[in-house]
């Protein structure tokens, strides 16, 4: 595992030196700060309700930004090394392919996490300043959810990276995945619910197919335990499973989404000995 840590450490060092981490961290912090400040100011009265609404806005921001950055950086990881001619050199060192891939995954995850936590931290300070009550546990759970999504999306990006012959191709695949997962999938679900009046079970299955949706629903469960925001789907979840079991199902699915992509990327990377 030493090799994994050495690669991860190098990845974090490169990220800190490069502009992307700073740019992403700064953009995230500014947007989070703006959302927090405006959310608290416009709603007037302070308290948990405001806190949860601001946090919900932050979650929506994270559901857009975090998958984008995680997918694109994951996509650039192996394909970028191939393109720069470094991959053969790295693989000529005494390490296994899975160690290189896992090290890159860990390094990217840590780097994006640092920037995300920094953004959440800034927003958290603003909320703490304005809010009369601050539910730190809820807030930290949301940070955890976003980081889980980052892990899942980094893994998906790495699959694109492994199967692509160039960085551009990998980025193209990553952007397509982002578009489907973040924008298109939601629209499809809304369309199907309104036109085909899907059963709750089918809808749950649909949600489990997309880590972004899983995180969205888990965040809502966390913020609004009565699930009224989710309409008939929320009612189905509560009646069929109850909040605890529904949470367990969603968390389990999210765990699969964290492990499966990076495992698949490792398998593909091992299989594609060029």
């Amino acid at each position: 595992m030493n090799a994994v840590w050495t690669i991860a450490e190098k990845e974090v060092r490169d990220a800190v030196r490069s502009r992307w981490l700073l740019t992403y961290g700064a953009a995230f912090a500014v947007l989070a700060l703006g959302l927090s400040y405006l959310g608290e100011r416009n709603l007037g009265s302070l308290g948990f309700e405001n806190f949860s609404r601001t946090t919900a806005s932050l979650i929506n921001l994270c559901l857009l930004l975090a998958p984008l950055i995680a997918l694109s950086l994951g996509a650039g990881s192996i394909a970028g090394e191939k393109e720069r001619g470094n991959l053969t050199y790295l693989l000529a060192q005494p390490l296994e392919r899975w160690e290189l891939l896992l090290g890159k995954f860990a390094g990217l995850f840590l780097s994006i996490s640092i920037a995300t936590i920094a953004g959440f931290g800034v927003a958290g300070l603003v909320i703490a300043f304005y809010a009369t009550s601050l539910d730190v546990t809820t807030y930290l759970l949301l940070v955890g959810l976003v980081l889980s999504l980052v892990a899942a999306m980094t893994g998906l990006g790495m699959i694109a990276s492994v199967v692509s012959t160039s960085r551009v191709q990998a980025l193209g695949i990553a952007l397509m995945v982002w578009f489907i997962a973040v924008l298109f999938f939601d629209l499809i679900l809304i369309g199907l619910v309104s036109s085909a009046s899907l059963e709750g079970r089918t809808l749950l299955f649909g949600v489990l197919l997309n880590p972004v949706e899983i995180v969205r629903v888990l965040a809502i469960i966390n913020l609004e335990p009565d699930l009224e925001v989710l309409g008939p789907f929320g009612t189905y979840l509560l009646e069929e499973f109850g909040t605890g079991t529904a949470t367990a199902i969603l968390v389990s699915a999210l765990a699969v989404w964290i492990v499966a992509p990076v495992a698949a990327a490792t398998w593909l990377f091992n299989d594609r000995r060029f």
Partner: protein, 280 residues
């Protein structure tokens, strides 16, 4: 470490196919400790593929052992025993020379305290804090050689190491290789420049379309293949230099390498034209 008499590198009937293309076709050879071997061949002959198979980076049929260990069964250990220098070393990011070596030393379980010693060995100690992307081509090659030597491996695989170097950098690099040979390293030098073979190698293996078409000691090669050299001049030679060559009896037709008078004649021609402008 290899047992006495055991080859440092052994390839037995190695075949590698990329789809329908056969990159290596039943390649076999064995190399002892302390020699420089030129792996010659045109582009696409299979030189780099031979290196990739030896490092266990790509799958192949047949057997390869390094210091007695099978690449297929002990890939990591074989890579620990093998220093690899790529054709165009593109180090990772804008790390300094010391950082590049520290990263690779970590992977090879070499103490970071030995990094300066390795930089010094290739005359790069003064550049230890210079970003690797600001080094000249020759310095980058020397840094790559320092990286290849980090774990003191018995085998070095050098892929076209001097292709992009000027004559002075190439000379310095060759001196380092000769020194390493004297320390018992086995060096495989992939090249398509015949003069590298003449200057350095003890043995030449020529690959063509993935097959070994010649495998002989260089000394034997000269005695059987005739004594004709090509002299390559880098840039435009001063006219006076060419005239001086002719004046001592050297021309395109009758250059005779191995003749004791040849090097003296070249030296005389150079001394007669010292101070002239132009590159030699």
């Amino acid at each position: 470490m290899t047992a006495a008499g055991e080859p440092v590198l052994s390839l037995q009937n190695v075949t590698k196919r990329y789809g329908r293309v056969t990159a290596l076709d039943g390649v076999s050879f064995e190399l002892p400790a302390g020699c420089i071997v030129a792996l010659l061949g045109p582009n696409g002959a299979g030189k780099t593929t031979t290196f990739k198979c030896t490092l266990g980076i790509t799958e192949f049929q047949g057997d390869i052992t390094v210091a007695g260990k099978s690449v297929k069964r002990h890939g990591r250990s074989v890579r620990e025993s093998t220093g690899y220098l790529p054709q165009s070393p593109a180090f990772l990011g804008d790390d300094t020379c010391a950082e590049v070596l520290r990263f690779l030393a970590d992977l090879r379980h070499v103490p970071a305290s030995r990094i300066d010693e390795h930089l010094d060995r290739v005359n790069l100690l003064e550049q230890r804090d210079v970003p690797s992307d600001q080094l000249s081509g020759g310095m980058r090659q020397r840094l790559a050689l320092a990286a290849a030597l980090l774990s003191d491996p018995p085998l070095l695989l050098l892929d076209e190491p001097t292709a992009s170097l000027d004559s002075e950098s190439r000379r310095q690099f060759h001196e380092l290789l000769v020194q390493l040979r004297s320390e018992g390293k086995t060096i495989v030098l992939s090249t398509h420049f015949v003069e590298h073979m003449a200057e350095l190698a003890d043995r030449v293996i020529i690959l063509q379309a993935g097959k070994v078409v010649l495998d002989r000691p260089v000394s034997e090669l000269w005695s059987t293949a005739g004594r004709r050299f090509n002299v390559y001049l880098n840039g435009t030679a001063p006219r006076a230099f060419l005239d001086a060559l002719r004046s001592v009896g050297i021309s395109e037709e009758n250059v005779t390498p191995g003749d004791p008078g040849f090097e003296a004649a070249i030296a005389r021609a150079l001394s007669e034209t010292s101070g002239e402008e132009g590159e030699r």
